[in-house]
């Protein structure tokens, strides 16, 4: 297994685990609805960040591109949470 393969497999496994965790939060949980919703939205944007950095390979990209994607995903997460509470 190559050096580049290992971290990507770890990230994929993490993404699968988070997806199952989010699904279980949405299906049946002991949390309050709003707490579960915020957790699910946060986990969704965490997954998006992993896809951008490790799958799209932005971790090796110029800082400006990395920062632009972080700003887009960060502001999007804030907007989505704000509209959830609208």
């Amino acid at each position: 297994m190559t050096e580049t393969r290992k971290p990507v497999l770890v990230v994929w496994t993490l993404l699968v685990a988070i997806s199952i965790c989010s699904w279980s939060l949405g299906a049946d949980h002991g949390l309050q609805r709003q707490t579960a919703a915020i957790a699910i939205i946060t986990l969704a944007f965490v997954k998006a960040g992993f896809v951008a950095s490790h799958f799209m390979d932005l971790r090796h990209a110029p800082a400006a591109l990395r920062r632009a994607m972080s700003a887009l995903l960060g502001s999007s997460a804030i907007a989505v949470v704000a509209f959830y509470f609208a």
Binding site: A36, A68, Y84
Partner: protein, 196 residues
């Protein structure tokens, strides 16, 4: 396919993946989809009980399977790019084929999911929730088709005798587009299927 020296020499630092113009599309698409998600949540805020009741008619388990299929497809695309970078055309082509096959599985799963909803009497005309459900998942499915088209184009490129920097850029660009399709689904699935 042998590999161009400029690709093999790639230092992997400060490297802009794909064609720079592709990033305009990526940022624009994510921005538009997030705007649509905000619109969905705004409509939801107008009728939370109605949206929650309609959401109960969806199949989160199917959505989870679709998520895992797209994630695995993205992993295959990462392998395709990594293999092309080291000059292993055969492995790259195989990985793209696997990614496309999984993309096709997603299309079939989504079609069956839609079919089951329509069969149960839920159409875009049923209520606002189902109108937004079909529009958002439909727009995403359109991106899946575009992504599959891009992957089919670069799959042919991997068969070329010598791959240059431009060919590799196209492969990376198609890969980034496919990852964006994955990224948007990772946001869309929880918002529509899971958030109450």
């Amino acid at each position: 396919m042998t590999v161009d020296e400029s690709i093999a020499r790639d230092t992997r630092t400060d490297h802009t993946p794909g064609e720079p113009g592709m990033w305009v599309i990526i940022f624009g698409d994510i921005f538009i989809f997030v705007g649509l998600f905000c619109m969905f949540l705004w409509y939801r805020s107008q009728d939370p009980p109605g949206f929650d009741a309609a959401q109960q008619m969806l199949s989160p388990g199917v959505g989870l399977v679709e998520t895992l299929v797209l994630l695995t497809s993205s992993l295959a695309v990462v392998r395709a790019v990594a293999s092309a970078r080291t000059g292993n055309a055969r492995a790259s082509r195989q990985a793209i084929t696997i990614a496309m096959a999984l993309g096709a599985v997603f299309v079939v799963a989504k079609t069956l999911e839609w079919w089951s909803k329509v069969d149960a009497g839920f159409t875009p005309h049923t209520n606002t929730f189902f109108m937004l459900y079909f529009v958002l998942t439909g727009l995403h499915l359109g991106h899946v088709f575009v992504g599959l088209f891009f992957l089919s184009l670069v799959r042919n490129l991997t068969g070329k005798a010598v791959a240059g920097q431009h060919d590799f850029g196209y492969l990376e660009g198609a890969g980034i587009f496919w990852h964006m399709v994955d990224l948007i689904w990772l946001l869309l699935f929880p918002l529509i299927y899971l958030v109450h």
